[in-house]
Symmetry: C2
Subunit: 191 residues, 2 copies
Amino acid sequence: MPNQPVPSLIEPFGVQFDLVEGAMRDSESRIARRASDMRGYYADDAALERLIAAEGDPVHYETFESPVPEQYGQVKFCISKLYPGLVGDECFMTKGHYHAVIQTGEVYLCLKGQGLMMMKTAEGRCSREPFAPGRLVYVPPYWAHRSVNTADEPLISLCLYPGDAGHNYGDIRTDGFPKRVFRRNGTIAVV
Amino acid sequence: MPNQPVPSLIEPFGVQFDLVEGAMRDSESRIARRASDMRGYYADDAALERLIAAEGDPVHYETFESPVPEQYGQVKFCISKLYPGLVGDECFMTKGHYHAVIQTGEVYLCLKGQGLMMMKTAEGRCSREPFAPGRLVYVPPYWAHRSVNTADEPLISLCLYPGDAGHNYGDIRTDGFPKRVFRRNGTIAVV
């Protein structure tokens, strides 16, 4: 087996979800990204600054985490909740990430909302998949991934990934993804 | 990183689930376990033989599989559907398994039905968690696990586990689990 620390022996547990509302009850920890954390990610920097100033730097997206150790062999899970809105005419999105262990994939089970998962590899491949309630998007190993909310309600997914995956923002801050998602005249445009 | 083959570079994909009915649409493969596959697992062998004879060896439980390679770094997922019924007065259950790579855990997200996840370690620890719609049961690394259906409808879960996990029936055929689950006079008894 791997040249890795062996996982801890922990006790089984259960967590109640509301699969209609997309909520994990009694989540022990929450990580919030505010609009100001997204500086440099959108096409229109000035529009983001106007949004930060006008709305008091609102929460852009948040994750509700599970108490699973970050170790090989464990299966981490969390709820990802991306709020709706536009920066200029670009749809709200997450920063996006590779996994630190790039050989690890991730499952996103969309519970609520509509959107797109934008994906790319470091070698320049590009793909996307729609999010809709009940739709599972499989992000294979090696693919960086970013969620985009194309609707008027939160986009909520249950995310599951190997415990040793980690996060790596890699070239995303500088290079972004090959395509951006805009809402123009009520229509979604992927450009 | 691990002394393991690196995972394949595959294309992202999506799968639609019905989270209310607990179904994976367009599943490419199905594995069925019939009553006759369960010989040796229940307390009352004769009652199982009567069930096989009377009902024509019905399907006991089945899994609907995803097209994810069985490799480190991938996240396998499937739907597990365990039918309701009794063998004598013992509730229908799965065989139960360890993972071949015992350092790997599993997530069960119950979508429909009621039941219990029975768990044990090879060193003699024992635990259980209830299944109910929307309840996620975390089976940590090292824990063998068996689903038991305590209600009158199918018990359906979405299961997710590391791609390198594999299955190992180990000591379960011979030793079973420390507790069995019965329905006696309309009440569930864990004995």
